[in-house]
Symmetry: C4
Subunit: 200 residues, 4 copies
Amino acid sequence: MAYGDIDAWETTGRIETLVDGIFAIALTLLVLNLSIPQLTNSMSNIAVEDYLIGLIPDLFTYALSFVILAIFWRINHQQFYRIKRANNVLLWITVIWLLFVALVPFSTSLMGGYGETQAANIFFNINLLLIGIFSGLIWYYATKKDFIEELSREKIIELNKLNLMLPIAALIAIGASFIIPAFSTITYLAIPLIKRIIRA
Amino acid sequence: MAYGDIDAWETTGRIETLVDGIFAIALTLLVLNLSIPQLTNSMSNIAVEDYLIGLIPDLFTYALSFVILAIFWRINHQQFYRIKRANNVLLWITVIWLLFVALVPFSTSLMGGYGETQAANIFFNINLLLIGIFSGLIWYYATKKDFIEELSREKIIELNKLNLMLPIAALIAIGASFIIPAFSTITYLAIPLIKRIIRA
Amino acid sequence: MAYGDIDAWETTGRIETLVDGIFAIALTLLVLNLSIPQLTNSMSNIAVEDYLIGLIPDLFTYALSFVILAIFWRINHQQFYRIKRANNVLLWITVIWLLFVALVPFSTSLMGGYGETQAANIFFNINLLLIGIFSGLIWYYATKKDFIEELSREKIIELNKLNLMLPIAALIAIGASFIIPAFSTITYLAIPLIKRIIRA
Amino acid sequence: MAYGDIDAWETTGRIETLVDGIFAIALTLLVLNLSIPQLTNSMSNIAVEDYLIGLIPDLFTYALSFVILAIFWRINHQQFYRIKRANNVLLWITVIWLLFVALVPFSTSLMGGYGETQAANIFFNINLLLIGIFSGLIWYYATKKDFIEELSREKIIELNKLNLMLPIAALIAIGASFIIPAFSTITYLAIPLIKRIIRA
């Protein structure tokens, strides 16, 4: 802010450090959604077994969110491999994107607790939709401002099209929330298909 | 401490790493203020909807604190782009600044729970005031000690003046806490105006 | 994902940053398993002493998990010292490995609470088994794809054999869980012996 | 472990990353000890004021632990500025040191809750004693193994003596815990005096 005029020089090193830090923490905080039962001294082996079996859906949600976050990190990783400069606008698009990324542990715990309700599914899918939109915006803005090096015009346009993939999947999942809430997240398994259609 | 005599050489690399780490964590911990309701097995869709609607003020506080912290990170980012050396004093100013930065998740949760009380607003605004003061001190001290490179005298003085912006906004917000507690944070939206006045 | 075609170039810098971040957080979250007792104002010195003495097994579990995680970090550290390139497959093997690494604070708290039950021991040991397997896979895949530099054929094969060490220890520990649950983790002290047998 | 034979080459980059990560998290977790009171809808301004006034000792403990951790980070920062190589032993001394560093948020919350008891004070001071000892060991071992560059023999010996400073302060604080538990931590303010005596 205060130094707004001297940032044409901006390099991307510290943005990447912040991104990596926030992802590392968001990924690790997902585990906090797995709470161990209250300490009752006389907990038998069978009780622990039952508890662990009941934990399977939560472990699935944990793994799903971990992989989804890793996909977004991966995409950013590849974007900033190509983006060589940044400015204030690009930084703030990235910050808003991170704001929704850091919300994922909360959305995940909401799904873990109330995954069968439509409201929780819509919230979770809107969260992913916004992450997808801002992730796409990072690339779109960076290419428009010529912050990219060594990439052909066709490649850049193709990648811009591929960036629609995750928002489209999220929109379908939001639609699915109105019909079969408990299974809306299955939509994301259709991503390879969406990818093929976009490319066609 | 023990190695106090050999730090004229000090480079700023690891200070920046610590700063980025603390910001990444503080930003991600903000989400812990969004607690999901107790697990009652028979939670209906409408109950989850009501809960999520009731969560809107907390989501707003989350976004506000996220953006404010990002602004401070951004300012530090630009300061250390220019600061080429450091010494013990600069390091400790930065540590005290981080001490108040790391307090923001707590201040935010206080605002989330009791944002309508004057006490919570004063606490939150004093926290931001102290962050603003120490952020300004980092730049003031670094310029005074000639740790800066490639920046004109006028530019440095102008930036020192701009660093008053956030403390002034925080002081106005503290004043506003005595009149309309619940809306004191709106003051920060006046920052662009304060910026123009300082520059005039 | 979206950028899948342009990743032959992949360097390993940001993977290492993510790995280091997740380990730093997982290591530090282990301490959250040490909960202080509820605040009862009249807590006497003797009550605090009793509480701290009762905490000894939890401190032992904390130290054990800290050291085990540090061993895995160490192994990764040395692997990526040698691995000079990466591709999508290697990245995703590493992500799945991290998924199980980030689960360790939970497994540890399960052991802290119910370490005498067979179920908790099996869960903990399976977690370590999976970490060991994916850690070995990272090296196996990287060597198969020739992502390694300056290491002799014999050395690579020897290291592949040594990577079986931790999975074998974990399998023995799983076996031991059926006989003497509370002491299954002692198995890991036999690792130097397993190492010698593999090398023979 | 598995790669034990190929680590003569070891550089210190990733050790420093892990150290910085753990400190950033431990510093930020300290704030979790400041818990906001239960949400009672009718919380008045005076109740929040009373709560915040009652929080002053906890804020003091927060600041004290923040500064103590920053001192240890600072010392490590300066040590590794000089240490140019590492081996397995140095790495594991650092890991054990980090194990006690990561324990500080817990010790601090113990002090926050039961700072007037002797048991809590002894636990807190022993924690600092162990951090001090392992911090000194890092330097002692690195100098003994000639991992240091560009530092005179006299300087190295002087620094080894100065590393006794924190353990001595911790030992005095442990002694003080038996006499005036609630004020044992004041001992650390005597560090500048101890420093002068050691140097004499």
